[in-house]
């Protein structure tokens, strides 16, 4: 009787469940070399738990009703209707009709992004491919926005036709292998979705097998810290124990602008066979940094957009590529031994706040003062700002927010000193740190202080361009799109409010909310809101600001640098 009923019950259950969609999600291959974070947890519970809290872990996830942060919604883009809706534990999107095909529901399989916004992927037409939904869910606003709007790209530009297996896989998964075959289909594999233990420490299979033996473990405990005696032990890398150069390369495998030297190999197996943490990244990749004078001089042919990612002085200006900035910094180039700057000089994966991952003992000025000890007792003498003000934080001046990604300005990891002389050449130059707080002051004003305080040569002569206009206003309205978006973010920063009060920015930001670039508009709107939330704050400097009436604003807009800029991060 029971046996007779069971198939019926099974068929009823099956019939009531939503039909499973086709899956193109990468296959998780967790055997042999790569054993996944599950295997690490049994011995390294604390490290596993601290990693669990990071945004690295959730950078790519299988979509479920709970892992997808975007709520059900009816959406519209260019007259086409889209819908996102949950079916049980799955999330589906209804896409508009295309090529004579009716509107079709597609299951969202993967999500990318964990901190600021989340993008979603569904099965593409070619087997194994994943295509991106043209909307992302932005956490700060709690809104679905068109994907093309959250990237900095010219109005009307068609977003790149991205596929998860051909781009995102490189950094948003552990040991990703695109598995592309010549027909265009993909057999994508990963050791783990998200950035997990083995992305930074190397494949753990040999290590785990070796240390299943308790004698091997206790023998290792008895040795001096870090001593290795076998290949199995050496196979696991602790980036903090590597040299500054090699340790930083572990981060640089994702936080650097690179291009594979062997493209065919990359399309098949990614870097799984060719790179291990601890090895020289340059053996397998070209670094796209300090771009040559012309794109033609690059070792590889690159999309023109790539050159949007650098300031005219060669500094990288796209966020998420901090390695490029680091290796251009004197602290890295001139440092040696323990006094050479590395990513781990400031950051920690396991002992930090997940936002920014600044090591708990390296917050404030502590990271810099480990080498620049002489500044500790004489902060104000060096900064000429109150010791307890943001102007006395090393990063405010030496790592200004001049890189852009994720709808915000991000600190530049090219550590240097503010100099007007190198930036006065035009409004497409990298903004000077001083004026990213003192937005209402001119470059000439800054020039004077840098001359008086630090003996820098005077760069701007009286009456010269830039000498009579508030730098922030000029950047916001006359710069190229990258300068404009960075300025728009700076207007909303706490540092700028501290430095120049409130009550004068609204007309400028209001004009920026009609910028041709959607990302500039979004960031300007955020800054307007932030200033409203802060209420009235007097400017600490009572000296009058340069005039910013409507004709002055119109003149700044008329000078806008309209060159096409694309920063798709």
């Amino acid at each position: 009787m029971v046996l007779a009923v069971l198939p019926f019950a099974w068929s009823r259950t099956r019939a009531s469940a939503p039909a499973p969609g086709p899956t193109s999600a990468p296959r998780r291959v967790s055997s042999g070399e790569y054993v996944s974070s599950d295997a690490c947890r049994s011995c390294h519970a604390a490290e596993h738990a601290s990693w669990q809290r990071t945004y690295h872990r959730t950078m790519t996830q299988l979509v479920t009703a709970t892992s997808a942060r975007g709520p059900d919604a009816e959406l519209s883009l260019d007259g086409d209707a889209y819908a996102v809706h949950r079916r049980g534990d799955e999330v589906w999107a209804t896409l508009p009709p295309r090529g004579g095909m009716p509107a079709s529901p597609r299951r969202l399989e993967l999500s990318t992004g964990s901190h600021h916004y989340q993008g979603y992927w569904f099965a593409g037409q070619d087997p194994g491919t994943l295509q991106m939904l043209p909307f992302v869910y932005v956490f700060r606003e709690g809104r679905w926005l068109p994907r093309r709007d959250v990237f900095l790209q010219p109005p009307g530009a068609v977003p790149h036709d991205v596929r998860w297996g051909s781009g995102c896989i490189q950094c948003h998964a552990t040991a990703g292998q695109p598995g592309r075959d010549p027909s265009g289909s993909f057999d994508t594999r990963v050791a783990e979705l998200g950035i997990a233990c083995e992305a930074c420490h190397g494949p753990g299979g040999d290590h785990a097998r070796h240390y299943r033996d308790p004698v091997a473990r206790y023998e290792a405990y008895a040795r001096p810290d870090g001593a290795r005696t076998s290949d199995a032990e050496a196979g696991i890398v602790n980036p903090a124990r590597l040299s500054a150069e090699r340790g930083s390369m572990v981060c640089g495998q994702c936080h650097g602008l690179t291009y594979p030297k062997d493209e065919d190999e990359w399309w098949r197996r990614g870097y799984v066979r060719s790179f291990r943490p601890g090895q020289d990244l340059r053996a397998t990749r070209f670094f796209i940094q300090d771009p040559p004078a012309t794109p033609e001089a690059s070792p590889v042919e690159l999309d023109a957009d790539v050159w949007s990612m650098f300031w005219p002085d060669g500094t990288v200006r796209v966020g998420g590529r901090e390695y490029d900035g680091l290796v251009d910094s004197a602290c890295f180039r001139k440092g040696t031994g323990a006094r050479q700057l590395s990513c781990m000089s400031c950051h920690s994966m396991h002992d930090s706040d997940p936002a920014g991952q600044i090591a708990r003992d390296r917050t404030g000025n502590d990271a810099c003062l480990t080498c620049h000890e002489d500044k500790r007792a004489a902060v104000t003498a060096h900064t000429h700002h109150r010791a307890d003000s943001r102007g006395s934080l090393c990063v405010s001046c030496h790592m200004p927010r001049t890189t852009y990604a994720l709808l915000k300005g991000i600190v530049s990891h090219r550590i240097d000193s503010p100099k007007v002389s190198e930036r006065a050449g035009g409004w497409t130059s990298r903004p000077v740190a001083c004026n990213l707080c003192h937005l209402d002051r001119t470059l000439a004003w800054t020039d004077g202080f840098l001359h008086d305080w630090y003996g820098q040569p005077v760069a701007i002569q009286a009456g010269e361009r830039g000498g009579d206009t508030a730098a922030g206003a000029t950047w916001l309205l006359s710069g190229d799109a990258a300068v404009r978006v960075i300025a728009a973010a700076a207007f909303g920063s706490v540092e700028a409010t501290d430095a120049c009060g409130t009550g004068w920015q609204a007309p400028l930001l209001a004009r920026a909310t009609s910028d041709p670039y959607a990302a500039v508009r979004i960031v300007a709107t955020r800054s307007l809101q932030a200033l409203r939330d802060r209420g009235g704050r007097p400017a600490p400097d009572p000296r009058p600001r340069p005039t910013l009436d409507d004709p002055a604003i119109d003149a700044l807009v008329a000078r806008r640098d309209d060159r096409a800029i694309s920063i798709s991060e």
């Binding site: 049994s42 011995c43 519970a45 604390a46 738990a49 473990r217 206790y218």
Partner: protein, 147 residues
Amino acid sequence: VTTKTTETSASDGIGMRHLRVGWWALLVYLLLGLALEGMHGFKVGAYLDVGNETRRLMWRLAHAHGTLLALVNIAYGLTARSVPAAMAPGASLASPCLLGALALIPLGFFGGGIVFHGADPGVLVLLVPAGAVALAVGVGAVARSMR
């Protein structure tokens, strides 16, 4: 009569020793349990943080085994006083083994949780298998004497 009296006083003496040790040990390990609860109450990181899971496990095991072995020793003390066969020559190992187990097993667990390496307890945990062997021998000796 003299021999029987001597045997009786010997078993009384051994029984009393186990009762004394057992009750004191029970007090110690119950107090340890109280301390562990206190650490929960005050959320002591050295005991509760996820990185100290091994310590938490080891100290809980020390508390549990210490309490249980204290009761075993009390039970043996009562047995020795009420069942003279438990003191037969073949069961002479029972007393030192049960006392040894009471000392070695909880101490091994507790010591293994003081200094530890990730998921592995410290080397003092090696006292535990030694204590386990002693316990097995002691319990076996008592069981055999009851035939």
